[in-house]
Symmetry: C2
């Protein structure tokens, strides 16, 4: 039996993320490959308490078990205002908000709504590999834009805009996946202005902004959007629970309505129970205190990883030192192929993810992403030590 | 601000389903427009008990709140075998099963995996409007195949296959939405054979098979599939709870793997808590007893609607009398435009859904779908009485 798959999916035979999750299931592996929030920070007791309350209220339980509406569980979107205000987005009406089943669904719906075959999409190079795959699934074309230590390079961005006439720009301006970089406010403002000037959409993907353990918050790109060009997507996956698949998109009412139509064909509505849980979690004021409790854990783990990198990794390894989020990005100033060396690392029970999957053109074979959020400081040190030996040995043997 | 949406979504400005849900929120309306399972049958107490058990087990709760795997919550797919055997599908391995966020997601992923621009898809005329919309969203082309009282017409099917060289056929062979018709076994077998002969895929959408209150079960199309051409999709929306968004697809491992890749870009994985609830619901043997308790309610409501139709609807109204599922389909042998009359019906506080949205070519302006599952026999009689007056008056005035 041989199948003729669609052009969109024919070439996709598996993904890096998929392989990551398989690796994570082996307990002996110290994994820096994933992107999981710290399991220690997941609010098991609070969510347990909330579900008990929900099912004690028969009327609410009934509403949860029956079909819901595509836009969101009743009363949930009303609570998103304060979260948006925090990143500089004020006055969003309910018709400008859509609940989605994880930030990834928000991205997918944006591609569904705006991409036709062969359309160009600009991304900061490197960027979230899941986005690059989604663009492929819509037969779009991702074009990488150069970046420096402060994120996207505005000159290269404008050059690429003129050259490729993109339909969209995708950005994670806070603690980017995979680099951990944060864009300063002036670049965000400039991007919003360029979107208005040249008439393209911006997907601002912001799952990590509340995981800031140092430095000062920066307003969102959306906060500078005067033209309805930016759709801001944020998720509760890193602040409450990823397993609930609960996130939201904020944009102009016209775009949000189109995303809702797309969502109706995708999953009709997000799981009501997940939404009802997050709603009560916000109402009961569990949201900020739990983040406050989590931040020292994330800071400790990041610091442990930076310390271990300094101690064990070869001097040819250059790396970012983020103020928040989940990831450190590394690059070798040496002929090191992180794709090939991965197998050797796994044999030493340490996993990273090679950087090529994060580049629009699959370059970056000397790069890697390290996740520090879901391992203890001790295991972080042991894992980086193992990686250091692997890479040092490799460089000593001449690459 | 004007947006250039993708060709796929540009023409979609709202949907019938969307409007249905808005109508349902007005309590004075007796609605036969929706497709909701009976709220009385939703297992509120059992799901409450199950969530309490889940959160009493800290390890399981932690696993639920963390990211899950795309294929499904651990241990859940293992329980689907008996449900599949019931419809004649034996020996499915775990790699042939994928959990999806509602049957609609299964349909969407099949289109994503198999449809390119302009590809033809065959459907029994009339068919589920959500499928027609999904095909549009992939720039595919739905072609209606004639049907008689036993479902799809095999001669017209083979003619249309030769004429349109379809990539897929979509079917709801048990208590079809919208008609309530059930295909006999020989047609199912013939469809599986035609799929193998002409090399197209079959989406067998089977959300209703367990809502059979009379007659004898018929084996699935998939049970006759020797060639890996049929993907069987079933949902817990009508047997446990639609709000959980929990369903599954069964097919060859190669196709299921492709659907999983598509799902990874759609929502990464279905909400863990929803899956864990249905898993325990099956383990605790709540599934069949709750259906047994529900069937008399569905039977009673259907009978109430048939009785009321006989009593109040004009003699020009021809209708199906299903053995299960949620819907009765009606057709006027008279110049009655159900699209135009809808407003008048709503003024009388009774809602149906006009049939045009269920036809591939938007014909059927003399048809309508009636849902009986979520209203009491008393309200069913009152609603059909109101509709009968509206339609009789219309016919008396000469259409």
């Amino acid at each position: 039996m041989s199948y003729t798959f669609s052009r969109a999916l024919a070439g996709m035979t598996g993904t890096a993320t998929r392989d990551i999750f398989k690796l994570l299931s082996r307990p002996e592996i110290i994994s820096f490959a994933g992107g999981l929030p710290a399991s220690d920070c997941l609010p098991v007791a609070q969510v347990g308490e909330i579900t008990a309350e929900i099912f004690a209220d028969k009327k609410e339980a009934l509403r949860i078990l029956q079909y819901g509406t595509t836009e969101g569980y009743p009363g949930f979107r009303e609570l998103l205002g304060p979260l948006l205000k925090e990143v500089g987005i004020a006055g969003m009406g309910l018709d400008q908000l859509l609940v989605v089943s994880g930030g990834g669904q928000g991205i997918d719906l944006m591609c569904k709504a705006f991409l036709d075959d062969g359309d160009a999409v600009l991304v900061e190079d490197p960027t979230f590999l899941g986005f690059l795959e989604t663009v492929r699934a819509y037969n779009g074309k991702s074009i990488g834009v150069r970046a420096d230590s402060d994120g996207i390079d505005l000159n290269d961005l404008e050059t690429k805009i003129k050259q490729h006439k993109p339909r969209m720009l995708y950005a994670i301006p806070d603690f980017s996946n995979p680099t951990g970089k944060t864009w300063p406010a002036d670049r965000r403002k400039a991007v919003a202005e360029l979107a208005a000037k040249y008439g393209f959409m911006v997907i601002e993907d912001d799952p990590y902004c509340r995981l800031r353990f140092s430095g000062t918050p920066v307003p969102s790109i959306k906060s500078f959007d005067t033209d309805g060009r930016v759709v801001y997507i944020s998720s509760f996956s890193k602040t409450v629970s990823p397993g609930l698949r609960c996130a939201f998109a904020a944009g102009s009412s016209e775009v949000i309505r189109k995303l809702a139509i797309g969502k109706q064909g995708a999953d009709l509505h997000s799981a009501n129970l997940s939404q009802a849980i997050v709603k009560r979690y916000l109402e009961k004021q569990y949201f900020y205190p739990n983040i406050e409790k989590s931040l020292p854990i994330y800071r400790l783990r990041k610091t442990a990883m930076i310390d271990a990198i300094r101690k064990y990794m070869p001097s040819e390894f250059k790396y970012t030192n983020p103020d928040g989020g989940l990831f450190i990005w590394g690059e070798f100033d040496a002929p090191v192929n992180t794709v090939e060396i991965f197998k050797e690392a796994i044999e030493k029970n340490a996993a990273y993810i090679n950087g090529t999957a994060f580049f629009a053109d699959c370059s970056g074979s000397n790069t890697l992403r390290l996740n520090y959020s879901n391992e203890s400081p001790e295991r972080i040190e042991a894992g980086i030590k193992a990686l250091g030996e692997v890479f040092k040995g490799h460089i000593a043997r001449g690459g």
